[in-house]
Subunit: 207 residues, 4 copies
Amino acid sequence: MSDFNQKQIEILQVAEQLFAEKGFDGTSIREISKIAKINIAMVSYYFGSKEKLLESLILFRTSDLKLKLENLFDEKVSPLQKIEKFIAFYIEKVNSNKNMYQILNFENSTKKRVLDSAVFTAIKKGNLQTLKNIIKEGQDALVFKKNVNVELITPTILGTYFYFNMNKPFFGEIFNLESENDFNDYVKFHLTKHIQQTVKALLIYEN
Amino acid sequence: MSDFNQKQIEILQVAEQLFAEKGFDGTSIREISKIAKINIAMVSYYFGSKEKLLESLILFRTSDLKLKLENLFDEKVSPLQKIEKFIAFYIEKVNSNKNMYQILNFENSTKKRVLDSAVFTAIKKGNLQTLKNIIKEGQDALVFKKNVNVELITPTILGTYFYFNMNKPFFGEIFNLESENDFNDYVKFHLTKHIQQTVKALLIYEN
Amino acid sequence: MSDFNQKQIEILQVAEQLFAEKGFDGTSIREISKIAKINIAMVSYYFGSKEKLLESLILFRTSDLKLKLENLFDEKVSPLQKIEKFIAFYIEKVNSNKNMYQILNFENSTKKRVLDSAVFTAIKKGNLQTLKNIIKEGQDALVFKKNVNVELITPTILGTYFYFNMNKPFFGEIFNLESENDFNDYVKFHLTKHIQQTVKALLIYEN
Amino acid sequence: MSDFNQKQIEILQVAEQLFAEKGFDGTSIREISKIAKINIAMVSYYFGSKEKLLESLILFRTSDLKLKLENLFDEKVSPLQKIEKFIAFYIEKVNSNKNMYQILNFENSTKKRVLDSAVFTAIKKGNLQTLKNIIKEGQDALVFKKNVNVELITPTILGTYFYFNMNKPFFGEIFNLESENDFNDYVKFHLTKHIQQTVKALLIYEN
DNA sequence: AATGAATGAGTGTTCATTCAT
DNA sequence: CATGAATGAACACTCATTCAT
């Protein structure tokens, strides 16, 4: 799937961690090389530059960001169940790639670097289309109402998750989440359910 | 309200803009001083250090971040209308302070700097309490259902907005928003409505 | 005449010396700052960059490169004497700026950097014109012959000097020149005379 | 004559070109290896080091630098004609090895590297002796005058050429030389003649 | 009260070279 | 015999900060 060797992958993993923790500009190559226990020249040697390291990292993780749901929908399940599965799947995917999403969210907001948005736009559009198909199916089956802004549902799904994640200390205090494990469990069992409830209500309730 | 002089305020405004655009680490004091047309030494002189400049900036803007809704709820309006107002008010506030929120969101995610979270926690808790009061009122009036995770509603409200904002290029393309004005109009008229719909559905619909 | 302060001038002098000795690329900012006993950041601080240091150096010395001969020719002297004076003056000027000429000669040959040749072209053309005027005068007085390629006389004058200078070790051995002083004396008394003889012969002798 | 294999010769040729264009320090092994389409390690492998590559290059070209005039002077020609031939031959040789001379001129001026001057001294002395023989012959035949500094004639011959060459842009403009071909033609037909005229005048004209 | 001058530490990057294979 | 992988040292340059005035 990727043509990075073991050393390169180690560097990418360290970089991912640090970029997520401290931002791209807040992370120095020296720091990466120190933690990854490699020579400082290796980053330039392997990736060309710090910026290209970021690009490589994105490339390395991009395949992980695509939702692979095709087979998920072969089965005979109701649109409602499909929505639930879609959300659970999406949140789980994002949560298990949270470092990468943290990086992308920030670097995307920044006007400094222009990440190759064509790739991401394509992924987003693909995911959006999947969602649209499910909703269309539900609307045709008269289960879902019609006057809903489908494009804004993804912001609600992911935005809820990201906001929760960005304010981890706050919600950690509120919900008494002490470990990374606690956090992940909360996401899996409560946050996901909340988002599912929210979206289902939006799709079903007429107002 | 604040004890910053005119020059300091100018610096803070430039810093806010640049920190939002390029991140804290991606912005140099040189750049700030150049744009603000002040001497480089002035930042350290006025604020002590770059880090303290950020703290001052947060302090300077913090009062803007508090929702001032007290008087809003004196009137006799239904809980549903109150929720709508609350959301509209919240989004409008956040959108008009988006640079500051952009900075806070990122710096908060970062493990590098520990912003004085006591202040923000207090603000967040205050806003949360306001929301809780409204919902309690609606539940008591049997308009809202009971099994809802109130603490996760703010993530839905703000998260939807932030995700939309962070992916401005994507949604700009989808919704054909060409100017900052178009964007603000879309937020005001469509995104706000979507969030209101979503939260109302969640609060009312039983599932 | 120049707007460089004392520290800057010191740096320029050290840079001139080192650039002449080791070439621009062979000289590091570290070395300059060490010898000039200044902080390494000062070069960038004062001049912007290493390349701009070179430009500043050229600017600093450019005025020295112009032949100021005007007053020299007010007097009633023969064209032959004027040629002799011109050559003596030119060689003396070049020899006392030999470091600068060494730098210019090399950097000019190099395709890497394009020194602002407009300035130098102007100087060269000015000097050439001075020479042309003298020769014209001699030709009008029927002292000098006509079929001479005036433009190639400067190459003969300066080229002879530079070749001698570039092969200092060789000629030092041949002529037993042991010190810088010996060298300068040889230039002043013998090389200059040789060049004068050469040019005069060329201008007078018919072949 | 040389024990360099084809690959080594290719490297030497590329190095010669680049050293002439950008100087020794301005040229990186990476660049050489890229253009010569060889592995970076090959330079060190074949030549030991970058510095030794330069030495090898000089060694490789040294034989080209010797004037092979022996057979030229078997014939019954006048000293004047011999001088003319000597100059034409010398200039032609130097011009066709101009890259190498460019390198030597610079690296010789530099105090950084001490090129094995014994070899060059020998060559120069040999060439000088040839010239001396011719001039002696002319003086004995009472064609040339006696009071001439023979050792300074080579500086005049080569210096004129080098100065012309180092200021190619300037003379290109003056003489309207647009291509390398134009330049070479000018050297061959006009510059050479000028130098011949100059030296002949110096040798014949009494002053 | 304000600033120009200056600096040490740190930045990303390139260098020639080495070495295991 | 030849080379891809790797590296320590050095590179030019920028950083936030200090300090004398």
